[in-house]
């Protein structure tokens, strides 16, 4: 059976590439510290020697639209073109092309549906920065095949937070039952408190530092009881109007397992939002 080489949960910040590659007067004062933290985080994946990446993210109204909106969708394609014109325009993200692993996609779809998740699928998926940001930060050579898993954290009505946890638990079990000798890293990105298109956006910190402090503690210890006791679809509007992206962290806590402490945890208080980085090694540090 496949080995889970690493489980990684991270924020995704589309400005990282531009900030970390800027020079001279263009380089923001926080860029060096940010790049150093990302490079240390990247090493936690590199040392796990993955062969294939399951990538959990969320389409930002690029290919998925309100006329036909899935709650959870698994890509099953040999290739995924990546990034969109408006991401190039706003964030300077380049066009990319990632290989897919259709065998693992098929395994997640069949097993997930049989486990009670009526997963949507896509045979032609152009992925966006929720997938490419962690490729850029964690595997910039973009050389490994991926299986994209998209969640709806964007368009009400959304699934309940506990459903994200349950899907994470199912993905963990399915990867462990994949008949393969491959080493799989499961990587998911979401948000802490975040406001986009509202009065609290683009402040000196995330819109709710107290939520961020609690969330970082919940994730680092995979304290699902505490997180689910405080978080609901209604409550997530309070820390910021884009904070439902925290549910992708809940999914990754489901992958990691209840009360399993992260082997690596780091964070960075940036303008606009807090960054947070976590890695678990289910088989022990490699």
């Amino acid at each position: 059976m496949a080995t889970i080489a690493a489980i990684i949960a991270s924020t995704h910040h589309p400005f990282y590439l531009r900030a970390s590659t800027a020079t001279g007067d263009e380089r923001p004062p926080f860029a060096d510290e940010w790049a150093a933290k990302i490079e240390a985080f990247r090493e936690t994946l590199t040392r796990a020697r993955p062969d294939v990446l399951v990538m959990v993210g969320s389409d930002h109204f690029h290919q998925l639209w309100l006329d036909n909106m899935p709650q959870f969708l698994v890509g099953k394609a040999p290739f995924y073109d990546a990034n969109y014109y408006n991401e190039e325009r706003e964030f300077g993200l380049p066009k990319m092309k990632l290989r897919g692993d259709e065998d693992l996609s098929a395994h997640l779809l069949r097993g997930g549906i049989d486990a009670g998740f009526d997963l949507a699928f896509s045979n032609e998926l152009r992925v966006d920065h929720s997938i490419t940001c962690p490729i850029i930060t964690l595997r910039p050579q973009a050389d490994l095949p991926i299986v994209p898993v998209y969640t709806n954290i964007f368009a009400p009505p959304m699934p309940q937070p506990k459903r994200f946890v349950e899907l994470g638990q199912a993905i963990r079990a399915l990867v462990e039952s994949w008949p393969s000798d491959q080493r799989v890293a499961i990587i998911g990105t979401g948000h802490l408190s975040l406001e986009l298109g509202g009065p609290r956006q683009f402040g000196p910190h995330g819109p709710d530092p107290e939520f961020d402090r609690k969330a970082v503690a919940w994730i680092g210890s995979s304290d699902l009881d505490a997180a689910l006791a405080e978080v609901s679809l209604d409550s997530l509007w309070q820390p910021g109007n884009a904070t439902h992206g925290f549910m992708d962290f809940l999914l990754m806590m489901g992958v990691a397992g209840k009360n399993v402490k992260a082997d690596y945890a780091d964070s960075l208080d940036l303008f606009h939002t807090m960054e947070a980085y976590f890695t678990w090694y289910p088989g022990g540090a490699s």
């Binding site: 930002h60 109204f61 690029h62 639209w65 309100l66 006329d67 036909n68 969109y84 014109y85 408006n86 325009r89 706003e90 964007f154 368009a155 009400p156 009505p157 986009l196 298109g197 509202g198 009065p199 609290r200 956006q201 683009f202 402040g203 509007w237 309070q238 109007n241 884009a242 303008f271």
Partner: protein
């Protein structure tokens, strides 16, 4: 109320570089053209298979014609679509990084939770 259609307008303009420029230069003409020609296009169907019932309300049409993102927020337009498109339209007019984004926030500063419902 047709929040879905407002979101569809923001979505289809934002993803097309030519339409972003057209909407910036001629918002009134672009909204009129879009409502007449594009509003009822089902995005995954060919042109002959269209919807027959979608149109803006007067306040929605007026807000789109005047680039009035405060009113669009108040009408329940999706916050992400609104921000992304309006950055594309107007960030270029501001010298300082993030100055437009901060002005956008300040102009919504009278809003406290709960914000307008974005459900469609």
């Amino acid at each position: 109320m047709s929040k879905y259609l407002v979101d569809k307008f923001l979505f289809t303009i934002d993803r097309d570089p030519d339409l972003v420029e057209r909407y910036r230069e001629d918002p009134r003409g672009t909204v009129a053209w879009w409502e007449a020609e594009q509003a009822n296009v089902i995005l995954n169907c060919h042109g002959g298979e269209r919807s027959t019932w979608l149109s803006f309300t007067d306040p929605e049409r007026d807000a789109l014609r005047t680039h009035d993102y405060v009113t669009l927020f108040e009408l329940g337009a999706h916050n992400f679509l609104l921000l992304t498109l309006f950055i594309a339209l107007f960030e270029r007019d501001y010298a300082e990084p993030l100055a437009f984004q901060r002005e956008f926030a300040a102009r919504l500063g009278h809003w406290h939770l709960p914000y307008p419902d974005i459900s469609t």
